[in-house]
C-alpha cells in the first residue's frame, strides 16, 4: 500500500529531514511512527499525500509513484487519504460542521447527507453537540478531535495521523486510539505518528522509529509485550532538586 525506496528529503534551508528511508506497509496494516522532536515524522507523512516531494528516492502509494503523478491526478489520490494534521489546520472562519465536510462538499454530496456524515463523524469523537461552534470557541483537545473527525468523514483507504492525541487526556487518547483501531479493522491502512510510548506499548503492532531522519528501528510489537524502546533512564529516578544546567541541544 505504501512503499518507500531510499527516500531522502532535504529542505532548501539545508535541513536533512529524511535520510535514505525504505519500508513497505501492506494494505490494512496499523503502523506507529515514532522518534524524537525533529526526527522527520511529519516530513515523512507529508510525502505520502504529496504535500511535498522527496529530494531522492521513490514512493509508491497504492501502486502509484506519487512524485511522478501528473498534477491533475493529485486531487484523486488525496481523496483516498484521510489526514490528521499535527497543527489541526482548522479554518477559524468556518464552523465545525463546515470544517469537517470539506471532502463531501468537494464530491458534491447534498446538504442532508453532509449533515448526516458530519454528525456521525463528530459523534465518534464526542463532539456532536458542538456542530455549530467555531474552532476558536473550542478547547485545544476539542479542536484536535474536530481535525480527527474531518479525516474520518469518508472512510479513507489510508489514514495518516500526526500526533493526534498531543492535546488529549489519557482517557480520550485511548478512546481515539480505539477509534483508529476500529477504522483499521474495517480495512483502512493506518499510519500514526506519536511520541506517546505508553500508547505504543499498550497497543503493540508495528513500530517505525526515526532518528535524525534515519529509520533506525522497524519492529513488530505484540499486544502488551514489554516494548523494546530504550526507556529514559533518568525518567524513573526521583526528580530531586532540578538540575541547573540548560537543556541539551536536541532535534536535528
Amino acid at each position: 500500500m505504501i512503499q518507500f525506496f531510499q527516500v531522502s528529503k532535504r529542505y532548501p534551508g539545508g535541513q536533512t529531514a529524511l535520510d535514505r528511508v525504505s519500508f513497505d506497509i501492506a494494505r490494512g496494516q496499523f503502523v506507529f511512527l515514532t522518534g524524537a522532536s525533529g526526527a522527520g515524522k511529519t516530513s515523512l507523512l507529508r510525502l505520502i499525500f504529496r504535500e511535498d516531494v522527496p529530494s531522492e528516492g521513490q514512493i509508491l502509494v497504492n501502486g502509484r509513484n506519487v512524485s511522478s503523478i501528473p498534477p491533475q491526478k493529485i486531487p484523486y489520490l488525496r481523496r483516498t487519504i484521510g489526514v490528521v494534521f499535527q497543527d489541526f489546520r482548522l479554518i477559524s472562519r468556518k464552523t465545525v460542521f463546515e470544517n469537517v465536510t470539506y471532502l463531501p462538499r468537494i464530491l458534491g454530496t447534498d446538504l442532508t447527507s453532509q449533515k448526516k456524515l458530519a454528525y456521525q463523524a463528530l459523534r465518534r469523537v464526542g463532539l456532536a453537540h458542538r456542530l455549530n461552534a467555531f474552532p476558536l470557541e473550542l478547547s485545544g483537545g476539542e479542536q484536535q478531535r474536530v481535525a480527527i473527525a474531518r479525516a474520518l468523514i469518508h472512510e479513507p483507504e489510508i489514514l495518516i495521523a500526526d500526533e493526534p492525541t498531543g492535546n488529549l487526556d489519557p482517557e480520550l487518547s485511548w478512546d481515539i486510539l480505539r477509534l483508529f483501531l476500529e477504522v483499521n479493522l474495517r480495512g483502512t491502512t493506518v499510519l500514526l505518528a506519536t511520541h506517546d510510548r505508553e500508547m505504543i506499548q499498550r497497543v503493540g503492532r508495528r513500530v517505525l522509529t526515526l532518528d535524525a531522519g534515519r529509520l533506525i528501528l522497524d519492529q513488530e510489537l505484540q499486544g502488551i509485550d514489554p516494548p523494546r524502546l530504550e526507556a529514559p533512564a533518568e525518567a524513573l529516578e526521583p526528580p530531586g532538586p532540578p538540575v541547573l544546567e540548560a537543556a541539551p541541544e536536541a532535534g536535528a
Binding site: 491533475q72 481523496r79 458534491g108
Partner: protein, 307 residues
Amino acid sequence: MSFLQALRAFFREAAINLARGWKVSLVAVLTITLSLFVGGAFLLVSGNLLASVERWRGEMRVVVYLQPGMAEDRVEALAGELRRGPGIAGVETVSAVAARERFQEAFPSLSDLVEGMGDEPLPPSLEVTPADPAHRPPELRAFLDSWRRRPEVSMVDDDREWLGQLENVVALLRAVGLALGVGLLVAAIFTIGSVIRLTAYLHSDEISILRLVGATEFYIRGPFYAEGFLQGLLGGFLATGFLWAGSALLHAQNPDALLTRLLAARFLTPAEAAALVGLGAGAGLVGAIASLRRERLTVAENEPAAE
C-alpha cells in the same frame, strides 16, 4: 458534482466573500464603475453629437452672399438662375433687411452700430439647399465655383466645411473617451485583480485545506472567478445606472437647453447598456483569472511571504 451545481456553489461562495469583505470590494467595484461611466459617457455624448451632425447635415445649405445694395428683382433673377443649377433642391432669398435683422439677433451688443447707418449695411444672400445634403456631386461643386467668380457675388459660404470640422472634433472626442475608458478599464482590471488576490490570500488557509483534501483546481478557483465576475457585473450596472441618472438629470434641469439636446437627446439602447454591463463582467473575470495564475495560489499555500 455537476457543472451547474458547481457554478451555483461558486456564486454562493463568492457572494458571501463579497458581503464579508465589502469594504475592499467596494473600491474595486467603484473603480470599474468609474471606468465604464467615463467610457460610456464619452460614447453617449459623442453618439449624440454625431446624431446632431447627421441631423444638421440634412439642414445644411450653401449661402451665396451678393453685393450690398443690389436691387430686389436682380436678386430674384439670380435666385432663379441658381435654382436651375445641377444637384440643387431649392433656393431661398434673404433680403438685406432680413440679413440685418439676423445679424442684430446674433450680436445684440453690436445692434446699435448696424442700426445707426443710413444704408442697409449687410448684403442680401441666396440660401441654396443641395439635393443630397451629405454629398456634393462634382457638377454642383464646379457650378458653385463658377458662381464664386461672378462679380455680383461677394462670397460663397458652404456649411459643409465647418460641419466637417465638427465631425473631426466629435471623432477626437470619441477617441479621447475611448482611450480614457480603456485606460481606466485596465486600472479597474488591475484593482479587481488585487482584490481577488487579496481574497485568495485571506483564504490561503482554506485553499490549502481544499487542496489537501482533494479539491481540483477548477473547484478551488471557481469562487474567485465568480467573485471577479460579480464585481465587474455590479460595476457595469452601477455605471449604466449613473449614466441614466445623469442623462435624466440633464433632461429634468433644462429640457430645452442646447446642451441637453446635444449631449443627451438619446440614452443608450438596451443592447448598448447590456454590452456595457457585459464589458464590466468580462473585465472582472479577466482580472480574477490574471490574478490567480498558477504560481500565485501555490505560493499562498506554503509560503508566509506573499501578502
